[in-house]
């Protein structure tokens, strides 16, 4: 699986993603600079990593969404290849319009770094095909702006189309406002586009890659992608 991780000025989870992909799959993952206009030849997965692109000074992800590389990222997604935005990367995806919605300040108005639980709502996406449907993952979050917002009508449509991939839940898998650490509408932690090849998620799968660090639930996401790519590209 050939992975490209985009580095914006202020990205800080870029290397973590590279390590996680390499450690899980023993495959190549390379960094791509935001000023480049092309992705490396043969890129199969693009990851927009977490961090504080451009300091997140205007709105999270807003300035990164205008980077030169975004054109190539858009084309990659249009070809139906997987594009994953994690945390700040999710914010960049909503700012580019590749995903609907916006991420607002957490209900607590504080940065939250902690483990949380999310329920896998769909396992028919490239990102989740090796999880069980309804499986509960223990996975870290670390953000100030993670409250997923969409105007009511759009939110209904999103739900009807089943585009919520991850939802905050209790350790037992119950979804309720109480288990949403940031106040996200409908407990939304990750959403996908209509085609299912673009995923934005606030939790950090790359931080849940080994049990020594507290959880390995995130590693399955990389394995899912690997499997899906092998299948779909007929390797």
């Amino acid at each position: 699986m050939k992975t490209s991780v985009v580095v914006f000025p202020g990205s800080n989870c870029d290397l973590d993603v590279v390590h996680a992909v390499r450690a899980t799959l023993q495959t190549e993952a390379s960094l791509v600079w935001h000023e480049d206009s092309e992705l490396p030849e043969g890129t199969e997965l693009v990851v927009l990593p977490g961090g504080f692109s451009y300091g997140d000074y205007l709105r999270c992800g807003a300035m990164a969404a205008k980077s030169r590389i975004i054109g190539a990222v858009r084309k990659h997604a249009e070809r139906g290849l997987p594009l994953l935005g994690i945390c700040n990367g999710f914010q960049v995806l909503t700012e580019t319009g590749l995903l609907p919605g916006a991420l607002l300040a957490n209900r607590s108005l504080s940065f939250i770094c902690d483990y949380c639980h999310v329920r896998v709502e769909r396992n028919d996406t490239p990102f989740t095909c090796m999880y069980g449907k309804g499986q509960v993952l223990r996975i870290p979050i670390a953000h100030y702006e993670g409250l997923y917002f969409l105007p009511a009508a759009d939110l209904d449509a999103l739900e009807r189309e089943g585009r919520v991939v991850f939802r905050y839940c209790s350790p037992e898998g119950d979804v309720d406002e109480r288990f949403s650490p940031n106040g996200s509408l409908n407990g939304i932690a990750g959403v996908t586009n209509t085609r299912g090849n673009v995923l934005g998620m606030m939790p950090h799968p790359e931080r849940a890659g080994e049990s020594l660090l507290g959880s390995s639930d995130g590693a399955v996401l990389w394995r899912s992608l690997h499997k899906w790519l092998e299948g779909s590209l007929g390797k």
Partner: protein, 85 residues
């Protein structure tokens, strides 16, 4: 000519304004009770070159459209002032 463009950005009606609510709560706590609502937004000042006021406004408008404002969650207003006449 240099213009100072002032861009006022504020949360759209219906969008949760957590910060506004928190500020309202704090203001009430320290004694400002006769308070109906608070909204917190951004105030961006841009000093730019333009041929005339209309052009300055147009430029500011496209800055908002392209970068400064997220229409899903924010509204905005633009005011212009000529600098150093």
């Amino acid at each position: 000519m240099t213009f100072l463009v002032k861009i006022l950005i504020f949360p759209k009606e219906g969008v949760l304004d957590t910060q506004g609510k928190a500020v309202a709560r704090s203001l009430k706590r320290i004694g400002f009770e006769a308070l109906n609502d608070v909204r917190v937004g951004k105030y961006i000042q841009v000093w730019l070159e333009a041929g005339n006021e209309a052009e300055a406004i147009a430029k500011a408008g496209s800055m908002c459209g392209e970068l400064l404002v997220n229409n899903l969650i924010e509204d905005h207003r633009i005011e212009v002032e000529r600098c150093g006449l």
